[in-house]
Subunit: 331 residues, 2 copies
């Protein structure tokens, strides 16, 4: 059994829903396949204030709005539907396999987003899957640590934002970072350090420190910290560990089908988002060169949906260079 579409979008995060809005508004028969629930990463964010046009909103609210828009123009959204395989057919169409279902489409926009990067230390996986004190999402899990002591790991924007969020719940928050300064934007880093230096602050910052293992009986009770300069280890008591060290693209199912970078990001031309397989576009955090912001993911979806029509009109366009592009290093 197979159903035919003009456009299949893999992933219902901001990129996928941006694409769905444009494709369906263009009267393309559009299907969005989402392995979990719509939203992707953004649905675990409780405060968005950097999406131009909306002063402040939470992730679930924004995603609900985007879904309503896309569905309103006729896009079909299937949740709990994990794509396992893609296949190019002889007639140029594409087969998309999803558990027992097979869908056939003229074009695909791949927008699977990215997932939390793991520390890879003993105890991490075990306590995380047991829901026993290891988390990758402050927004989601901070309320469970009211009055408790937690350790956060990371140094980027998300790490700082999430750590600040944790301080509203936990009695004590310790942020550890492997380097001696943050990678995060200055405004955030300053805000955090200011908070840490307040009298009676519940926030402690430890630079040049890494996690070696997470310990406990049945639940997290401590973390083994190591000072990277002195090499000294310390058993640091805590009730929870929050790991904020970045993202890995969700592109495992594409290996062997699309060309990926070493880090697993989808290779594409950054102007029109064409991958190495004609008819398959990449959009959002999953692609090389992505700025990893909400608004840039949305725009990727929009560009892919617009360019899909160009591909339908003229399949040979797929191999055309972008005209008047400046070649970096070439000026």
């Amino acid at each position: 059994m197979s159903e035919n579409y003009d456009c299949i979008i893999i992933g219902a995060g901001p990129a996928g829903l941006g694409a769905a809005l444009y494709a369906s508004r263009d009267r393309l028969k559009t299907l969005v396949l989402e392995r979990f629930l719509p939203g992707g990463q953004i649905s675990t964010t409780d405060r968005i204030e950097n999406y131009p046009g909306i002063e402040r909103i939470d992730g679930p609210g924004l995603i609900e709005q985007m879904q309503t828009q896309a569905s309103g123009f006729g896009a079909e959204i299937k949740t709990g539907c994990e794509v396992t395989k893609l296949h190019k057919l002889k007639n140029g169409h594409l087969a998309v396999y999803c558990d027992r279902d097979k869908f056939v489409t003229r074009g695909v926009i791949v927008a699977p987003g990215s997932s939390y990067r793991k520390l890879g230390v003993p105890g991490e996986e075990q306590f995380h899957s047991a829901g026993a004190g290891v988390s990758y999402c402050g927004t989601c899990d901070a309320p469970f640590f009211k009055g408790k002591s937690v350790v956060a790991v990371g140094g980027g924007n998300t790490a700082i934002e999430e750590t600040l969020h944790l301080t509203k719940f936990a009695e004590k928050v310790t942020l550890i970072h492997r380097r001696d300064e943050f990678r995060a934007t200055r405004v955030l880093a300053e805000q955090l350090l200011e908070r840490a230096s307040e009298p009676n602050s519940n926030l402690i910052v430890k630079f040049s420190t890494v996690a070696v293992a997470i310990k406990g009986e049945g639940k997290v009770q401590s973390i083994i910290l190591k000072d990277v300069k002195s090499g000294k280890e310390e058993n640091y008591p805590c009730d929870g560990v929050f790991i904020f060290i970045g993202m890995v693209p969700n592109t495992g199912f594409l290996k062997g089908f699309l060309e990926l970078s070493k880090a697993g990001f989808i290779k594409c031309d950054c102007a029109y988002l064409r991958t190495n397989v004609p008819g398959v576009f990449a959009a959002g955090d999953c692609r090389v060169g992505a700025a990893m912001q909400l608004s840039t993911a949305v725009a990727d979806g929009v560009i892919a949906a617009i360019m899909l029509k160009q591909y339908f009109r003229d399949p040979n366009w797929w191999n055309e260079p972008v005209s008047d592009l400046l070649q970096p290093g070439g000026w």
Copy 2:
């Protein structure tokens, strides 16, 4: 007299304001220079329903929101301030001249937008600014003409694409073109003529025909067409007029400073938006390869602001190629 900034943004449309939000949120001393009032093209749109996350809003409302956000983080917005010249200083900084004022900055984001080429006939300006039936964008406005009769004007690729798009919505579409054949690529022209020749087609093509005036009481009710061979005029009833005769980038002031395409668009690499002058980024409709949508302009601003920090951290990054990029035509 000169004032010093980290980031000067030229143009307060969606691209410029997107850049301003990110730059100012990053604690960069940010100045936005706008020759008229904030908003650019979008401020003349009364119904936006293709900005993911906002189901429906008018242009001025959206722009006001974007301004509030950027100003809230400290961006300074100067209106009525037309940039006439840019100049690279010996220390690598940039001088931006604006009438009698001179500003000095470490980085510039050029986001002057583009303008629709006008027909220049009576009624055009009036009905367009009133949102009463004259449009320059089929992708944006076609859904508002469901079941109605519209006239499209033009003969290039965009005109044909947009006209085909209109036929999916309007009950009747009449495309007029001043010459007796299309300038568009043959594949598109053929597709259009084929569609027009189908039985019961809702598409009519009139060659050698120009618009003389647009008429109506409060809204478009007809267009005066003139056969350029016979000179005969006709009052042709319709509910809307779509004018697809091209875009003009607002880049005149950049000639001799930045590398421009023949059509006047700013040449850049489409991943990070670097122009041929280090420290100067291009964002929005003014650049080559732009998708010319609200959300893509916003994302351009965001990308340029993020990459500006990268340039500050490492000026040599300017000449680095984008890694893992696919080269169109190269696979």
